[in-house]
Symmetry: D3
Subunit: 239 residues, 6 copies
C-alpha cells in the first residue's frame, strides 16, 4: 500500500529538488540526488511518485537476441505494464548510456497508464518523441541503440543504485527542471514539510535580494530584523 | 562512383537513427552509432550522405603554427573543398573536444558546396553561428580553441574511428535529432528497406498505445489480432 | 585599481571567445579556455569583466554543517558581497559538479550588485531560476545538492584553476554563447585589438563564403585579390 | 548441484584467460572478461570455480552505521559463510573503488572455508595482507575505507554485472595473472576443451617462433607444413 | 608548534590506514582517504607526520619557462627547504598526472632533511630512483614531463584538496602499503587510541579465523564467548 | 634510411625519459610523452629505436571474424614481420584497453627479429609471458580479449596518435622504467646531446644532495660555487 499521502504529494509538487537536497542534508543524507540526469521535456510541473524499480545487468549476446521481447514476461515489458499509476519507474542502467534504457513506445504506454514519470541513469532512444509526451522523463543523454545491445532487464522492484544514489522501492522520487532526488519513504512527509517551510523563506529572501538587500544577516536570518520582516511577509502572503 | 541511390537516400530520410540501429543489430552490428555526439541545429530533416573522412592526430607544436593554413593543400582546408556534394564530412578527432575540429566559416563553405552534413567526435568553435546555418552538424560539445591547439589534420578519406564507431569512406551516414549512425555501404539499401518496414509497424504501435492498448502481444505482435490490425492499418494508410 | 579600460571592455563585447582563443594561441597561450562550461542563459551580449576568484576545497563533514552560513565572514557569502561591480566571480570547484557551487539567491545578489557574471567549473543549483536572471552564468551542469555537501569555501581572490585554465585575480574574463576565456591582464588590451581586427576579417570572409567563394586563397588571404577585396570591404563598411 | 565437473576444472587450470576469451569470441561472446581487475597475489595457479555472487548498492547513511555487522544475517557476512567451497565469490561493487568491497579477515575466512577465490570490480582494504593469503583475489585497486562508506550489501547469488561483464550464479569463473573471465555454465565444458586444444597449438607456435620461424603460414597454420609439424609435435609431446 | 606527540606518532606507526578510516568513519568523517594514490616504495614502516602543503594551479606558459627555478623563492623549491623534519609534504596537483609534481632530486633533499614523506595526487618523475630512496612517497602514477608543463607552484601551507580529501596544515597524515589518510589534528590522539584498540581486536580475530572459527558472533563479537576469548587473548599477549 | 646514428642511440640509452622530456620542453614540445603506459618488464636498459607504426580503428563485427588472420597481408601480422630490426613498433589503439593490441607470440616474433621494443596505448594479452621476454614492451594495462573484439588493424607506418602524443614514422622512441617519449627525428641528435649534458649535471646534484647540500643555489646552479664544483666534478669523473 502506498505510503505517499495526497497531502505530501501536493507539497512535493511545490518545492524544488535543490531545497529537498538541503532538507535531506540536514538529516545526514548526502547522496540522494540521482547524479547527472536531466529532463527530456522541461515541464512546468514537478514529477512526484513512489519508486518502482527495474534493474539491468550487462547483456550477454546469446541471451539477448531481438526475439526476447516475444516473451510477455520479459522484465522490461512487464515493468512497463506493472508500474502503478502515480509511481515513478526508476531504471538502474549502471550509468551506461551506450544503449537505450527504453524508447518512446514504452514511455507512451507508461504515460497512458498514468505513471508519474521515468528515470534512467543511462539514455533513452526516440528522445525527441519522448520530449513531446506528457510524462516527465529523465536520462543522462540520448542513446539510439536498442536496449539489448548492452542491457539485460533482470529484476523488478528490488533496491537499486541509480546515478550513484540508493533507490528502494517505495521511496519518494521528485524531479524538477534540474534533476531528480530520492526521499526515503519513512521521512517523506517530514522532508516535505521542512521543504515547504524552507521554500517560503527562500521566496521571501529572493524578493528582498531583488529589491537590493544584502544577504548578510538575511540569508540565513541572523539579523533579528530579517526574522521579523519574514514574519510580516508570511502574514501578508498567508504562507 | 556513389553507391547510394536516390531511392535509398529518400528512404533513409524518413526513418530514425534508433530504428536503423535496431536493423543493424539484427545483422550483428552493434557498434555503428557514433557515441555521444549531438546536433547543433535541431533540424526537421535527417542528414543522409556517404562518408567522406578526415583524420586528425595530436598536434605537435612545431608543425602546427598558425601559418600552416597558408598551404592550400592543408588537409583540413582541402577536405572542405573536396568533400563531394551530398556527402557527409566525418572527422576523427579522437574524442578530444578541448580544441575545435572546425569553425563556422568552413562549415558555411561546406553548406554552400552542397555537402549533406558534418560530424566530429570533438567539438566545433563558433557553435552558435553553425547552429544558424542550413546544414546539419554534430559534435560532442562546443570548443572555442583553434584546431591547431590540439589537432593536426593528416589524412583524407581513409577509414577512421569516430565516437567509437568504425567509419569507412562511402559508408552511409544518417543523423537525426538524437545522433548519427554509420551503415556499411554494402547493406545500406537492405537496411533502409528494413527500417522503412519497421517504421510503419512502430507508427502503428504508437497510435495503438496512445489509444490505450497494452504493449503485451502488440509490441512485438505475438497476438494474431495485432498482426491483422496492423495489416488493416497498412491497407488504410497505404504504407 | 582596475586595469580594464572602458575601451578594452567595449572591444571585448564585440568579439567571440573563439577569436580570442586564436589571438592567445598566437601569443603562445594554449590553455586559457575554461574547459567544459556552458551558459545557463544564452544571452545576446558577451560577459566581460576582471576575475574575482573564490576557491573551494573538498568539504570535511565536521567543518561544514548547515550552520556555517550564520558566520557573516563565511568566504562564499563574503565573496558575493565583495566581488566588485563589473567584475566576474570565478569559482574553483575542482571540476566537481556533484554539489552546487552556488544557487539563485546568491547569483541574484551578484546581479543586483552590478557584477558582470559568474563562472564555476562545477554546477549551480536553482539553475532554471538563474537562467531567468539578467546576469551571465556559466557552469558544467546543474547540481541540486547544497554546496556544503562537497565544497568548503576557503579563499577569496587568490590565483586558482578553473576548468583546467589558470585564473589570476584581475585577469580579463570573456564569455559568449560558446564558453569562457581568461586573458592575462597585461595583454588584455593588445588581445582585444587583435581580436577586433580578426573579427573584421572573419566577417568579410563569412560574407564571401556565403556568396560562394572558395576558402582557398581567401582564408587565410594568400591570394592578393582577397587582400584587396578585404581592403575595399573595410573601406565600404567603415571598419 | 554443481555443473562444473572435476575434469573441466582440471582443464581450466591449465589454460589462460586470454585463450578462453578467444574461445568465447568464436561463440559470439565478446564481453565475458571482467574489465580492469588485477590479482593482488600473483599466484602460480589459476583460480577456477563457479560464481557465487554478492550485490552491493550505494550506501544510504542511515542504513549503514557501523552496527549493521552485528546482524548475523547481514548479506556481506552471510555471503562469506555461505559461499560454497570450490566456488568463487564475485562482488558487484558498481566499479566503485572509493570504499572497500571487503578486507583481510573476510578473505581469510573464505580461504579457510575452501573457497576458490574472490573478485570485486571495486577494491579491497588490507590489500597487503590479502596478498599474503593463499587464495586468489582480484580487484581494481586498493581501497582502505570501510565498506559501509559507499556500499550496502544487498543480495546474495543473483545475476550481477562485474567489471562490465554479466555474471550468473553458477557461471564458471577463471582467473590468471592477467585477469578474470566468466564462462556461461552451459558451455564451460566445450570451452574448456576448445581452450586445451588451442593451448597445445599456441605452445607449439611459441616454440617455433622462439626458434626463429615466421608467423606467416604458422599462426594461423595456413601453410600445410605448419599443420604437419604441429601433428608431429603433438605426437612427440603426447598432447 | 607541533600538535603531534611522540606517543601518538608511535601509535600511528603500528596501525593500518584501513583501521584509521574505520575509526574516522565512526566520527562521521567519510572522505579522509587520499583517493587513488599508491606507494612508490613498499616500505615496511608507516609514514606518519603532520601535513605541510603545497598548492599547484594549471601552468600558464609565459609564467613557467624553465628559468623560474632560478628564483630561490620559487614555491616548489621553497617548500622542499621549509617543510619541517618529521612532517609530510602533501601536494595538490588537481589529480593531474600528465606532468610531474616533483622528481628524485627534490625527494632526496626532503629525505636528507628528515621529512617523513611526500604525497601528490599527480605523479612523480624519476619514479624508479624515488622508489630506491629511504622516504615514503605516494602518487597516482609515474609522470616524466617536467612540472612546468602543467603545474605552477603557488602557495605553501594553505588548506588544499588532495585526491578528493581535504588537507589542512597540521593535520596528521598516515600512509601504509595501501594508501594515505588524513586525520584532523584535533582528534589525532583519540583516533590513534581507538585504532590501537581496534587493531588488537582485529589481530585476535585474524588468529581465530585462521584457526577455522566462523566470523558470525566473532566479528563483531556479538557472542559473549568471543568477548571473553578476546579478554583472555589480550591478557596473554599483554596488549 | 635510418636517421638514428649508433652514436645517438648510444647516448639515448644512458639518459632518462624524464630528462628527455625536459630537453623537449626547452624546445617548446610539451606533449611528446606517451601518456599512461608502463613497462611490462622492468628491464635494466632503455628501449631506443625509430618508430614503426600500426594504426587500429574500432572493429566492425562482419569484417573481423577469427578467420582474418589467415590472410598473410593482414596489417597486424604484416607489421610484425615488416618492422625493421632496431625499430620500435608503436600501436595506436585509441587508448582502448578493453581488447588486446597483441599477444605473446607476436611479441616473441618481434624479439627474435631484433625489434627494439613495442608500445601500445591499449593493452597486451599474455602479459605475464611478455614480461618474461627479452624485449621492452609498454602498455596501459593487461587485456585478455582477442584483438578482433575491439580493434581492426588498418594502416602500417602512417603518422598516428599514441597516448595523446603525435608519432611520425622515423621519430625516435625512448622508454625507461617510467614511460616512453617520442623525439622528432630531426632533433633527435641535438636532444640526445642536451640530455647527456643535463644528466651529468643531475648526477652531480644528486650526489651533493645526498651529502646534505641545499638545493637553493645548486639546482639550478645560480650560486657560482655550484658551477665551479660541477666543473671540478666533471673533470674528476671524466664526464
Amino acid at each position: 500500500m502506498s505510503t505517499l499521502s495526497p497531502q505530501t504529494r501536493a507539497k512535493l509538487e511545490t518545492v524544488s529538488v535543490a531545497t529537498l537536497c538541503t532538507a535531506l542534508f540536514k538529516c545526514g543524507l548526502r547522496n540522494q540526488l540521482i547524479q547527472d540526469v536531466r529532463p527530456l521535456n522541461p515541464a512546468g510541473r514537478n514529477m512526484v511518485g513512489e519508486a518502482f524499480t527495474l534493474r539491468y545487468i550487462p547483456a550477454r549476446e546469446d541471451l539477448n537476441p531481438i526475439g526476447v521481447f516475444q516473451n510477455p514476461a520479459h522484465p522490461q515489458r512487464k515493468a512497463v505494464e506493472d508500474c502503478p499509476a502515480g509511481a515513478v519507474l526508476v531504471i538502474d542502467s549502471r550509468k551506461d548510456a551506450r544503449a537505450a534504457s527504453a524508447g518512446a513506445i514504452l514511455v507512451a504506454r507508461l504515460m497512458v497508464r498514468g505513471v508519474a514519470g521515468i528515470v534512467t541513469d543511462g539514455g533513452f532512444r526516440d528522445s525527441a518523441e519522448i520530449a513531446r509526451l506528457d510524462i516527465p522523463a529523465y536520462h543522462h543523454r540520448s542513446s539510439a541503440p536498442t536496449n539489448l545491445t548492452r542491457h539485460q532487464a533482470l529484476d523488478i522492484n528490488v533496491p537499486i543504485g541509480c546515478g550513484d544514489a540508493p533507490v528502494f522501492p517505495g521511496d519518494v522520487v521528485v524531479g524538477d527542471a534540474e534533476g531528480v532526488v530520492v526521499i526515503p519513504a519513512e521521512i517523506a512527509e517530514a522532508i516535505a514539510d521542512e521543504a515547504v517551510e524552507m521554500t517560503a523563506f527562500e521566496d521571501f529572501v529572493s524578493e528582498e535580494v531583488l529589491k537590493g538587500r544584502t544577504i548578510i544577516g538575511l540569508y540565513p536570518p541572523t539579523n533579528p530584523q530579517a526574522q521579523s520582516d519574514f514574519a510580516a511577509w508570511r502574514k501578508a502572503k498567508g504562507r
